[in-house]
Amino acid sequence: MNGFFSNIDWADIGQAGLDTLLMLGGSLLFTLLLGLPIGVLLFLTSKRQLLAQPLVYGLLSFVVNILRSVPFVILLIVMIPLTVFVTGTSLGVAGAIPPLVVGATPFFARLVETALREVDRGIIEATQAMGATTTQIVLRALLPEALPGILAGGTVTAITLVSYAAMSGVIGGGGLGDLAIRFGYQRFQTDVMVVTVLLLLILVQLLQMLGDRLVIHFSRR
């Protein structure tokens, strides 16, 4: 039994786990902060909505689609100069967060747009009929009504970020996924592979459970 875990350096695993959590936390925070307004803007400027602007919507939608169609591994590398400009380094947790945010924000923005579309049009109409401003409609009616959907989208995004973060090893980002690839895969250390994947599985499970709880807590339908 001792033989199977012989390759494992628990301190390394601990550091990698911490790095993964930091990457996840940092990138999720910025993804939510950036993706939410972009999603709202996508929704508002789309056809037959409050601020219908076909040109703005088309442009925004196009940029989102471009970012979503670039494979993340490529994005990681292409982003390096920008990352260095923003964080001063392209390595480690700090180097991984900008590409993670750029990769996940368009994804989350689309999920926000979809969640807003699920809100009954009648609610917008009723709020408008009360004499609400567009800002009031968005902040006081649309977002609260779409909250369960947005939280579900945030959960999916967080889990996507876990798997994106695993790829950041390519640019020296660190974390559990990096450990799995460098030791588990490239050095045939199966035990490292099993432990890291297991830890990632636990992380994903926890995220999903937390997300589901939040969705249920805020659902009143």
Binding site: I123, M130, G131
Partner: protein, 336 residues
């Protein structure tokens, strides 16, 4: 007073203009309950939404009092909308807010009231619509009728002068419809609120409206006091509504009477004449025999009325009809 002046509205669908309203001129008096009836696609949803400019007319003016609301700027329009309540077929309550929060919503949007003032007003409104004990429930926990009561309380929160009802009872069962209509009629009486309601159900109009406009293909086919319009419908579309409400089909009627001998007329009584023993007296006097083929005694809002289809045989039929007409009955020839 709400006035539509030469209103046209068309929607652009797939590159072509589809007309919804074609030259509407209409005046709704302050304090009345005004019904707008029409089949789906007749333009009634569009018409009611012109009053708070949820839809803008392609041409024409909408006056509320003396203000042309189509000329208001955004802020003035929002202030105007706060003075107009609206209730909807599907209630459109915010699912994430409790009953009390839904009723408080228009007040907090409008601003200018303290939390305590809002709380007090919400409590009064909920008591008015009989939902005090449901204040902390979410809409999903309520029945359809209760949801519409929340909608009504919410619409009244800002003390509007006008209440718009968009098919407000169409999603409710007949019993709930009655109680909601009664609530609307009470509110109209107590608050002197002008109510504009659109519906495709004649029964709704008959029960509470003072006047009605029948809308057909974007134009007003007929307009007048409800009793007048429904007892003596002039336009084919109105006739169809009347027959629909009575669950009869015009062709079927004539077929049914094929084997009935005599002269068939439809007699309409309104007001006190409804309860007088006229037919018997006239029959004795002129020697005619009569058989009643169809009929109903009902009320239109507060006016009792009766409508009987009668076959006369023998005696002096013209004299009988003359006597009936002399007592204020309306007589329509069904078959000579």
């Amino acid at each position: 007073m709400i006035q539509f002046k030469n209103i046209y509205k068309s929607y652009r669908v797939a590159g072509t203009d589809v007309p919804a309203l074609q030259g509407i001129d209409l005046r709704i008096e302050a304090g009345e309950i005004f019904g707008i009836i029409g089949h789906s696609g007749a333009g009634k949803s569009t018409l009611v939404r012109l009053i708070n400019l949820l839809e803008r007319p392609s041409a024409g003016q909408v006056l509320i009092g003396n203000t042309d609301i189509t000329a208001l700027d955004a802020a003035a329009l929002r202030a105007q909308r706060q003075r107009i309540g609206m209730i909807f077929q599907h209630f459109n309550l915010l699912s994430a807010k409790t009953v009390a929060q839904n009723v408080a919503f228009p007040l907090s949007l409008a601003g200018g009231k303290s939390k305590a003032e809002i709380k007090q007003r919400v409590a009064a409104l909920l008591a008015r619509v009989g939902l005090t004990e449901h204040a902390d429930k979410y809409p999903a926990q309520l029945s359809g009728g209760q949801k519409q009561r929340v909608g009504i309380a919410r619409a009244l929160a800002t003390e509007p002068q006008i209440l718009l009802c968009d098919e407000a009872t169409s999603a409710l069962d007949p019993q709930t419809t009655q109680s909601v209509l009664k609530l609307l009629a009470d509110i109209n009486r107590e608050l002197g609120l002008t109510i504009v309601l659109i519906t495709h159900e004649m029964d709704v109009v008959r029960r509470i409206a003072d006047r009605v406009a029948v809308l057909d293909a974007g134009t007003v086919a007929e307009i007048g006091p409800v009793a007048e319009v429904f007892l003596h419908p002039q336009h084919p579309i109105t006739r169809r509504f009347v027959l629909e409400a009575e669950n009869v089909d015009e062709g079927e009627l004539v077929d049914d009477y094929a084997h009935v001998p005599g002269r068939i007329v439809r007699l309409t009584f309104t007001g006190d004449a409804t309860y007088e023993p006229l037919l018997g007296a006239v029959a004795r006097d002129t020697g005619v025999d009569f058989s009643i083929l169809a009929g109903r005694i009902d009320r239109i809002k507060d006016t009792p009325y009766g409508q009987l289809t009668v076959a006369f045989t023998g005696g002096d039929i013209p004299a009988a009809l003359q006597q009936l007409a002399g007592r204020g009955l309306a007589i329509e020839e069904v078959r000579a």
